[in-house]
Amino acid sequence: MISFEIEELMPVFTKLTTKYTSNESSSVSYEKAKQLMEAILFCIQELERNNPVDDAVMDKNLSPEDCYQMGYQLVVKKVQSAMKRYHAISSQFKWYRNLALHDTILKGMPKFFQYYDPLFAPQDQILTLDYPTLVPVQELKGIDAIYQYLIYIEMEQQFLSNFSEEYVENALESYHPEHEELFVNIPSVVLQHLIYEQFQEELEEKIKEGRETLEVFLSGIIRVFVREKLQDDKLMYGYLKNSIKDFIFEISES
């Protein structure tokens, strides 16, 4: 585990602050100092995140400056990867008339790549990510949050490509007439619609048998779908399974 005393980080902080001020200012506000220190910690933690059990990194007795620089390079690479992923997503992107999804991906993401500052504020996420993914990214920060979010969006687009646009929009329309303005996860709605459509009777029986049985039933349906339509992608299954708790909640509320 990387471990530094705060005093060891001060030269890194001074160097970054000098760069920030272009050597034209001998002082910064507390607020700015905190932001810059957070930037340093974010990069060092990025190195840790990418080398959780890499003894080679630890054995090298890397200085705080080395750790920071290596972490910073990882942040920059992650931004480049995220941008490639975004371009791949956006080339065939479908938003199914959901405004939150449209605004987050087609309007928001380009702004993120335009304004994101990996050097002085890598910890800033910039976007509010209004469209809800099945797994929230709130605990992540900066490019980590955006990168993971794009992975989820890519998975959702892949899942939804197994249905016609008409089918998806009908599912959304059945869910709520004003679905365009709702902050709702589209795969979750489509899965619910699919299950009601094809397994209505079994569903009603499983509801009577209790929550645990219902969860197993719904997991099974998702597993079969992923196996038959999505090359048994384990990550996809793990992601889509997160729709079950909301589904069960809505059943209990209805």
Partner: protein
């Protein structure tokens, strides 16, 4: 990163005093001995204008710096602004040996205040140049006038985003 270090840095960043407070963080940025020697070495130049700073006065100014930085919620690094202040104002007709230390201490306060008021949109040199011009000119050596009139207008224009203040100035625009 150990939990202990994370906690220290957390408190540092979140401005809580449990483990490390702002004073301690400021202390880490302090390089008093370097700043002290630098200020004493300014005498080589300032004595041409009849002004010399003693070691005791330099220490006093450094102590004042600490308080002012805390009050203005700023962190200074490197040798700080004091040597530049000494160089800039030593030839002012309104500064002499008897009032030098007090004036520099006040100018230092005013400097940090207006770095904040200008939202850090002006460099140290730009602010010092403007302060010196106004102090020797329109303000006729009055620190009150400098602080409450000249610089007030200066900072207001910077906040409004007037292009004149990105390294260029026009005389008479702010009085």
């Amino acid at each position: 990163m150990t939990n202990g270090i994370k906690r220290q840095i957390y408190y540092l960043i979140r401005n809580e005093a449990a483990v490390m407070n702002e004073n301690e963080f400021w202390g880490l940025c302090e390089q008093n001995q370097t700043a002290l020697e630098k200020m004493i070495s300014c005498n080589d130049y300032t004595q041409k204008f009849g002004i010399r700073i003693s070691r005791e006065d330099a220490e006093l100014l450094l102590e004042e710096r600490k308080h002012t930085l805390k009050e203005q919620e700023r962190i200074e690094f490197g040798e700080g602004i004091l040597p530049k202040l000494l160089f800039t104002f030593c030839d002012s007709p309104y500064l002499y040996q008897d009032n030098y230390v007090d004036m520099i201490a006040r100018l230092q306060e005013i400097f940090y205040l207006y770095k904040n008021e200008s939202l850090d949109d002006v460099s140290d040199d730009e602010l010092l140049t403007y302060m010196k011009e106004q102090f020797d000119g329109e303000c006729q050596g009055s620190l009150e006038y400098l602080e409450e009139t000249s610089l007030e207008a200066f900072a207001r224009n910077i906040r409004k985003g007037t292009v004149y203040f990105m390294g260029r100035r026009h005389k008479g625009d702010f009085i």
